[in-house]
Amino acid sequence: MRLTTIAMACAVLAAGGAIAEIANPGDVQYDDYGAVADSLSGTPGDAANGAKIMTSRGAGNCIACHEVTALKNAPFHGEVGPILDGVASRWNEAELRGIVANAKKTYDGTVMPAFYKTSGYIRPGNAFTGKAATEPLPPLLTAQEIEDVVAFLMTLKDE
């Protein structure tokens, strides 16, 4: 854990941020409340791409459970989770990163899936084939995709 952080800090110092370090899902540092201070990819998120990931079935598919007014051009928003309008006024960037990476660290036992986790599953499957898969699984979203989603969520502020 430490190592990645140090390596990242060195990389940032040495190359002025040119070399991005990707945090391993198992090495992500959550604080006591589930927040993640450091970027997972070291590269700033792209909010426009984050919006695409949130609506795409094959990616985050966040709107399966959440309604988001800003994404209303995509059909069928679910009701399982809270409406995400104004979410960046309720949570800061580190907290949102923690919720997307592994919401269980913020909300004990939540139905929201962990998007940056690779092991510890019961009967893990190979995507939607119904067939067995061996851990570690690829995480549901990559480090950069999570940064993109967080960048989009940061645009959802109350007026």
Binding site: Y121, I122, R123, G125, N126, F128, G130, A133, L137, L140
Partner: protein, 281 residues
């Protein structure tokens, strides 16, 4: 009778198109069979589903609901007709048909309402097992595939004989260990999405998950005709689909695990009418 049907139609057309929750329509089939589609939750659920158990019919669109009001509209009935024909056809080395031993499908009235159950040898059996035992042992014919059209048509024909009767599946005595196993599965959060049956059908029934309106996941209408697949769907096929959707390794249709789950889920609907063969989206 005419009046009742009219009320049903009026209720259906007056139902508001609102997101969330079961609706308040009433289900009367063929203008005469009054179905129990909502009833007091059985005590053994300990309030897990609130105070009512509710048929999946209440969570469907008016259009889908209306297909169940009349057997001439219900697309399952084509398959039921095929099973009526198959009932009289001798197959296998013993040269026997179902009718040779059972006369008439009507002799099965009440059976589906009590299935699955534990047989005399302590084994948990579901309807597909009873049918295949007759085929292999008494007819000396090939067993049918679990979710095959011929099998599910026969399960539907036998189920139809109990239509309107309240589900009354035993969960105590010899059934208890199977029931516990099924319950354990129902609350296990399978797959990479870490979702249990209860997460969707207990915690979130009435909510939309993307375009799908989540019901209580009751099995009283099975096999159901699924419009999306244009055929009768077995319970185990539905379970498999739901588990697959959690990005998990599923269990096999006809596995002991799914038998136990089937028993447990059936008891969650004790008191609802057998609605076989139901129509779903």
């Amino acid at each position: 009778m005419k009046l009742k049907a009219l009320t049903a139609v009026l209720l259906i057309s007056a139902a508001p198109v609102l997101a969330g929750g079961p609706d308040d329509d009433t289900l009367v089939i063929n203008e005469e069979i009054e179905m129990i589609t909502k009833t007091a939750a059985p005590a053994h659920l300990d309030g897990a589903l609130g105070d009512q158990v509710i048929s999946g019919w209440h969570y469907r669109t008016d259009e889908t609901q209306s297909l169940e009001l009349d057997d001439f509209e219900n697309p399952s009935m084509i398959f039921v007709d095929q099973a009526i024909d198959a009932f009289d056809v001798a197959e296998g080395a013993a040269g026997k048909s179902c009718a040779d031993c059972h006369n008439d499908p009507e002799s099965f009235a009440g059976l589906t309402a009590t299935m699955p159950k534990v047989d005399g040898t302590g084994t948990l059996v579901v309807m597909e097992d009873l049918i295949n035992t007759c085929r292999t042992e008494r007819m000396e014919a090939e067993p049918w595939k679990w979710s095959g059209d011929d099998m599910q048509a026969m399960v539907a024909l036998i189920g139809l004989q109990s239509r309107g009767m309240p589900v009354d599946v035993k969960f105590d005595g010899a059934a208890a260990p199977y029931w516990e196993q099924g319950k354990e599965m129902y609350y296990t959060r399978y797959g990479q999405l870490e979702l249990s049956c209860a997460n969707c059908h207990e915690d979130n029934n009435g909510n939309y998950i993307r375009a799908d309106h989540l019901s209580q996941g009751q099995t009283n209408g099975f096999p159901t005709y699924r419009l999306k697949q244009a055929k009768l769907i077995s319970k185990h096929n539905r379970f498999r689909g739901c588990i697959r959707d959690t990005r998990a390794e599923t269990f096999a249709e006809g596995s002991d695990e799914f038998r136990a789950l089937e028993l447990y889920v059936a008891t969650r609907g004790n008191g609802l009418s057998v609605e076989t063969p139901a129509v779903r989206q």
